[in-house]
Amino acid sequence: MEARGWARTGALAGIVTIFLALVGLIGEFTDVYLIGDEITFAGLMLVLPAVVAGMVAAAPRIEAGVRRELRVGEAAVAAAVAAAAAGGVFAVAVLLTDLIGVERIRTVFIKISPQLMDFLTFGRSTVGGAVIIVLVSTAAGVAGGLLRVAPPSIRKPVGTALIVTAMFGFLQRVIPIMFDQLVLERDWLYSPIYDGLTWVGALVVATVSAGVSVLYARFGGQVRESLSGGPRREGSAISPLWLIFGGLAALALLAAPLLLGSVVSEVLGSVMVFALLGIGLNIVVGYAGLLDLGYVFFFALGAYSLALLTGATLNAYGIPPEPVISGSLNFYVAIPIVMLIAAVAGVLVGAPVLRLRGDYLALVTLGLGEMVTVLIASPWLVPLVGGPSGMRGITDAAIGGISFRDPQNFYYLALAFVAIAAFVSWRLAASRIGRAWTAMREDEQTADAMGISTTRFKLLAFAIGGAIGSLGGALFAVKIGSLTPASFQVLISIQVLGIVILGGMGSIPGVLVGALVLVGLPGLLREFEEYRLLAYGAAVVAVMILRPQGLIPNVRRSRELQDEERLQDEWVKTVKEGETPGEVGTVTGVAP
């Protein structure tokens, strides 16, 4: 009975909606307007699970090893059942909440408020509100389901338009600033009262993005072919298409602070620091395949050793402000020393633990990272690093009177270091060293047998990764000008790991995108700050299950991660060709 499967999908989506309401992702965002004064972030959160349920219910089936698209009518019914179930489950939850009493539930789940209930019932009676919820969910789910089975010529433009419009809605703190800087009229695009897009603006954005999508579908293939001159070989020189794409991205990166003003530049500066950390960790995790959970160690090492080398002072009271070890070097002289220290530390940390298997290595490094965070906060090391109150007066890395504490200038400093690190890491990956890492990651014993000194290359990965990480720490110190242990929690390691995972292990553009998404977006939408780590966790789990190769995958790495599924796909294909449908186990987790 298929309907039961659809309903189950829908019920799951309903539970997800309840979860979103309980953590506050609906209640806290009822006044964040995306379009006009009708579409709020909260509203989006309310219907999104139903839409996804509709899309899942309308997804192609795999029957006896053969993929079958659903017909339109079939898809509409499936999506309607699923979405109605989603809405129904959530409506029941709303009714129950009203029955028990909002105030009573609020003593436990603090995010359930009368305002939230008002929002959920659309200002009507609870029963009326519940009916509306079911109707809205069903409509949204059917729309999602139909979109799923629509032919690509419709699906792609509509999907693109929806996603781009939503992005424009989210970036309501960024794009208007850009318009102001360019002295453009913006009130037609973003409403001055509600901050979100106006309906006219949304329509324009949607039309333009749909148009671009249509044009790309028609001419994109030709352009790509004429530019790259035939199919590309793996590992060959970069194709012209990538060159154009990269050039545009570089231009955007260069122009960003000028267009976006200092508030956004501040956020972009953090993005760059994390991108640098991501590039470093990517060498250890993505290239060498060593899961390092203690990366904050290098971050802290970089920040504090830079502070000590350039003559920062202690914040603690009752002791001389001069740290026990103190230099008075210029920032640019100190940087190579900091990196050298970190590289040596990487080797020292790595040497005793390298023979451990992957997951043990992860925990040892986690332990080391946590030890560092406890140590810098301990009263014992106050004379060196200031203990809980930290250090201040860190150099602003000025050249000829240009201070890099200024967010816009800092961004360029960080960008320069990111560019260098990305280049080094890119060339490393293609070198003999990079190939040795790949071999080691894929099969350590075989690599060993082939004459690769795994110990040496693992240590090298730790040393280079550590050096780049310390660079991130040093820049961070310049950015904020003072250090406290609160900035060096073990969570940093996990955040950087999230960036690498989301972007795609082994992929440098992936790291940049990961940093933009995971550091940039929450930084721009202040209300979202509280939910940043929740999103990190959800993103890591979702990526690992649905798309282990990440958003912008490294070709080779993604093959390793998908081997299992590729085999299954192959098998499905052979069954299809041989026309001997047999019994098939559930094919799980087929990546889109």
Binding site: K111, D359, G367, E370, L533, G537, V541, M544, I545
Partner: protein, 359 residues
């Protein structure tokens, strides 16, 4: 670049040399620190015999809690060869879930009028919440990845841990909640000449009883037998007619059950619950599981007590001798140090098989 002979430098067993040197340094640091601490009189900053007794009792009680959490790590590891990094959050979930009942009980007076029943109910509630979270975790996050490359489930578990902790932060807010404690648990009691707090006695008793029950369950019941079979060889076990999926879920459930009970004990000891309370006990318990030899049930129990004792006695015994101020703030760092040293010197653990050594 083929060389006929290795140079002398390359022939030396560097790894072993580094390990031996490191070992000697560690032993020297511990020995000198302990000797210097013990030479101090209480007036000079040393500790009296009573203080040491307190440390030991406190450490053992902590160790009981660690042992119960460690069993969850070790059971799951034994069967799936995976570190369930989110197990600390399973523990937190139970403690947090039971808090609201404890709060209601203390307001209605039930907690103090019939404390035994009340604490029993709290443990049941906590266990139910933890079991629920653990089973959901397995079903939603880990099961789709059962045949994935080894690091993938571990990374997923890290993500799940972050997700769970912050979901609870979203539900209940970032602030700590004061966990009520029944009046009978206040004060001290003397057993066999040793004075301990009543809570500590409860913790020790519950921990020991649960471990005995678990041992009985694993070694004699049918489910326990299938668990051992799956741990030995999943494929063969499934050929023998064992429902592997069900065994795995059961394992997660048992781990959750123990973590839930430990959650109440922890909350009663520290009289507080917070969304991030799972992380540090989780790491300590993991250390305990590794120390005992991960995959070994007896090892996890032993490791739990050893870690608890080390954490309570180690910092004052070793660090005080070097004149380091406020040694207790370094307790967590000490656990991590122990974890690192165990993995470096004896990755197979005390009762382990040594299998963890390589690949």
């Amino acid at each position: 670049m083929a060389r006929a002979q290795l140079s002398l430098l390359e022939r030396l067993p560097w790894r072993r040399i580094i390990l031996v040197v490191l070992g000697v340094v560690v032993i020297a640091v511990v020995g000198i620190g302990a000797a210097r601490t013990l030479a101090l009189t209480p007036a000079e900053g040393g500790y009296s015999a009573d203080a040491w007794e307190d440390f030991i009792v406190q450490g053992a009680a902590q160790g009981g809690i660690f042992a119960m959490i460690a069993l969850g790590y070790t059971l799951v590891y034994g069967i799936l060869r995976m570190i369930n990094f989110a197990h600390g959050e399973v523990f937190m979930a139970g403690a947090f879930g039971s808090f609201f009942f404890a709060d209601a009980f203390v307001k209605s007076g039930f907690l103090n009028s019939s404390p035994v029943l009340a604490v029993g109910i709290l443990m049941l509630v906590s266990a139910a919440v933890s079991v629920g979270v653990a089973v959901l975790l397995e079903r939603l996050a880990y099961r789709p990845l059962r045949n994935a490359p080894r690091l993938v489930p571990l990374i997923t578990a890290i993500g799940a841990s972050l997700f769970l902790a912050n979901a609870f932060r979203g539900f209940f807010g970032p602030q700590p909640y004061g966990y009520p404690k029944p009046g009978v648990l206040a004060g001290n009691v003397t057993v066999l000449g040793v004075t301990l707090q009543r809570t500590q006695l409860l913790v020790l008793a519950v921990a020991v009883i649960s471990m005995i029950v678990l041992q009985w369950f694993i070694s004699t019941t049918r489910t326990g037998r299938s668990m051992r079979a799956v741990a030995q060889d999943r494929e063969i076990a499934s050929l023998m007619g064992i429902n592997v999926d069900r065994v795995i879920v059961t394992t997660f459930a048992i781990g959750g059950l123990l973590a839930g009970i430990a959650g109440v004990l922890f909350a009663l000891t520290f009289e507080q619950v917070q969304f991030n309370m799972g992380f540090k006990p989780g790491i300590a318990a993991f250390t305990a599981a590794v120390l005992g030899g991960i995959g070994s049930i007896g090892g996890a129990a032993l490791g739990g007590f050893v870690i608890g004792l080390l954490q309570a006695i180690g910092p004052p015994l070793i660090l005080t001798g070097y004149g380091i101020p406020s040694v207790f703030s370094l307790r967590d760092a000490f656990v991590f140090l122990v974890l690192v040293l165990v993995l470096v010197f004896k990755p197979g653990g005390l009762l382990g098989t040594g299998e963890a050594e390589k690949v």
